[in-house]
């Protein structure tokens, strides 16, 4: 029996973070993410955690890396301009393997852009925004219920792989109230993963010596006897800098591999009416909801449409997208930017099916009827 409760998107994110075990939040308010900070400020003290409003987004990102190294599950939330400011320390978190969750409630960009309106313009930035090669998990829920699920999943993967995880929302999701079935969020039903701890005595402890899963067991700072060192420089197992090409190569390859090898388990999509689909839509977030309605509208008109809603944006579902391209006559990628994820879909489609675009970056959502017209156009063009 469903236990429905109306929840505000940004509040759902904060409440799920607490459920996942988050006990530290540092942030700097920015529309449309501020309600996450507000709720965390209310909730954290009640759960023995700490909330701090920092002087800016750069410091907020630095603070959650520090809290993470002290052993806390840590989170920050921001939007466009703030996400840009966080990039350097996000790269640092990746390099020093500090588990943390960075929420970006997307608004219209570039720059200060459209603060109060929706955008999906950080699809590429969430992976490539910070310098240097990297691979970090990026999740993008599609409704308020899923905001809770994905927030918990973001913490779990961050802890298991000792990596930052980016959780993308958008202004409509963050500022929307929606019913959530709370049945699945009772504490006994929520699965929580925690980071592994060193199993060796202090004298044998090497903070950056990876296990078989490519993940090192780093003791929280302050654990008696377990001495650590963290640096953004390339480092060896001790955590101290090195320029030894073999060590550097091992490090960068491992950092990417530890995420990549878990792609199959991390992959999460929703497939809707794809079995007999001739045209497939690939979409995410709020746009995917319009796409789902458009699929039904198209079916009523005799167009065999289907939807692949991608939740784990990065690492991308390469094989699933390739199989999809082989299976359909055309793919449409509607997104609230000037064409970002479409590049990844094209790459994975490997020319098996033509990939069409529907782009908008003016702060308005894409309506189902607009996707329907595009589908009709595509079908006409292909007959």
């Amino acid at each position: 029996m469903a236990k429905l409760e109306l929840k505000y998107g940004n509040h759902a994110c904060a409440e799920a973070a607490i459920l996942a075990g988050c006990r530290f939040y540092a942030g700097y308010p920015i529309t449309p993410s501020s309600e996450i900070a507000e709720r965390m400020a209310e909730l954290l003290p009640r759960h023995g955690g700490a909330f701090i409003q920092m002087e800016d987004e750069i410091a907020s990102m630095a603070a959650i890396v520090g809290a993470s190294f002290a052993g806390a599950k840590a989170m920050t939330a921001t939007s466009g301009p703030g996400f840009s400011l966080k990039q350097e320390n996000l790269g640092y978190a990746f390099m020093v393997e500090a588990p943390c969750v960075v929420v970006n409630v997307q608004r219209g960009g570039p720059s200060t852009g459209l603060p109060t309106q929706i955008g999906q313009q950080e699809i590429m930035q969430s992976l490539w925004g910070t310098h240097g090669d990297k691979l970090i998990p990026v999740f993008y829920p599609g409704n308020v219920q899923e905001i809770m699920e994905e927030t918990i999943r973001a913490f779990n993967w961050a802890e298991r792989l000792r990596t930052p995880v980016v959780l993308l929302l958008d202004e409509v999701l963050g500022h929307m109230r929606e019913t959530v079935d709370m049945e699945q969020f009772t504490p006994d039903k929520v699965e929580i993963w925690n980071r592994k701890m060193p199993e060796v005595p202090p004298e044998e402890y090497l903070p950056y010596k990876p296990g078989e899963d490519d993940v090192p067991a780093i003791a929280p700072y302050g654990t008696p006897g377990y001495r650590g060192h963290a640096t953004g420089l390339h480092h060896d197992y001790t955590g101290f800098p090195t320029t030894n090409p073999e060590m550097c190569e091992e490090l960068i390859e491992r950092l990417i591999r530890k995420v990549k090898r878990n792609q199959p388990e991390m992959e999460k999509n929703e497939e809707y009416k794809l079995d007999d689909a001739e045209v497939a839509i690939v979409a995410f977030g709020t746009t995917a909801r319009a796409a789902k309605t458009a699929v039904d509208m198209a079916r009523e008109k005799g167009i065999k449409a289907g939807l692949l809603r991608v939740v784990t944006i990065w690492p991308s579902p390469e094989e699933t997208l390739n199989k999809l391209a082989k299976h359909v006559n055309a793919i449409l990628v509607p997104e609230l930017n000037m064409g970002q994820y479409v590049l990844e879909v094209e790459r994975c489609a490997k020319g098996e099916a033509p990939v069409y675009r529907l782009n908008r970056a003016n702060g308005k959502v894409i309506y189902p009827a607009e996707i329907l017209s595009k589908l009709e156009e595509i079908v006409k063009a292909r007959v």
């Binding site: 469903a2 429905l4 409760e5 109306l6 529309t31 449309p32 109060t116 309106q117 409704n143 219920q145 202004e171 409509v172 500022h175 929307m176 109230r177 929606e178 019913t179 709020t286 909801r289 319009a290 789902k292 309605t293 039904d296 308005k364 959502v365 309506y367 189902p368 009827a369 607009e370």
Partner: protein, 208 residues
């Protein structure tokens, strides 16, 4: 089943709060709901709107496109969003995109304040229910601020016109929703406001 409602009014009339209470009541009733609003509350001037989508299953597109009901709280909001153009209710959209954006379905419920709103909608096309909403709040309850909740009472009763004599959401669910949505010291006032709304709603239906 997908049922879409828009509450429109002037700044400070609580259109968004009415939408929140309505969505919460739907959840109490065991229905799925989404509630959206254009960001930024109009507290002192201008018009504002609150949207709700209600369904017996999880909702795909969360915003309104085909309204089943409109609650109109002020002349200003009516003139800006409805008058002379009963098919278009989104002040932000241009004429060329109006058709794909927000329409009011024929047969939709239109709740208007009988003192505040001069409404010239075609009664053959829409189910127009007119009631002394603001007057009830101001004179009956001494608080004009609760007119949004009085309007919800009228709406609750009037949905029986669309669902074979049975309202979409029960009175009990609305009362629970009020408990959850308004500050403690105003709960009783708002509950009374809702019940008064139900009363004048019933009277209005009998008249019509």
């Amino acid at each position: 089943m997908r049922y879409e409602v828009r509450v429109i009014g002037s700044a400070g009339q609580g259109s968004i709060l009415a939408a929140v209470v309505l969505a919460t009541a739907a959840a109490e009733e065991g229905l799925w709901a989404t509630q959206t609003a254009s960001y930024g509350a109009a507290m002192r001037s201008g018009t504002s709107l609150g949207d709700v989508v209600i369904s017996d299953q999880q909702i795909d597109f969360p915003q309104v496109t085909e309204l089943d009901a409109v609650i109109i709280q002020s002349q200003e909001a009516y003139d800006e969003m409805v008058k002379g153009k009963p098919v278009r209710l989104d002040p932000e959209c241009g004429e060329n995109t109006a058709d794909v954006l927000v329409n009011v379905k024929p047969g939709a419920l239109v709740i208007v304040d009988e003192d505040l709103v001069q409404c010239d909608l075609d009664c053959n096309m829409y189910r127009v229910v007119s009631a002394p909403i603001a007057r009830t709040a101001a004179e009956g309850l001494g608080r004009r601020q609760v007119m949004n909740i009085v309007a919800l009472g009228v709406f609750q009763v009037a949905t029986s016109l669309q669902f074979d004599g049975k309202p979409l959401i029960s009175e009990e669910s609305f009362l629970k929703a009020i408990e959850k949505s308004v500050p403690k010291r105003f709960i009783d006032l708002n509950k009374t406001a809702f019940q008064e709304g139900v009363k004048i709603g019933k009277a209005a239906l009998q008249k019509a």
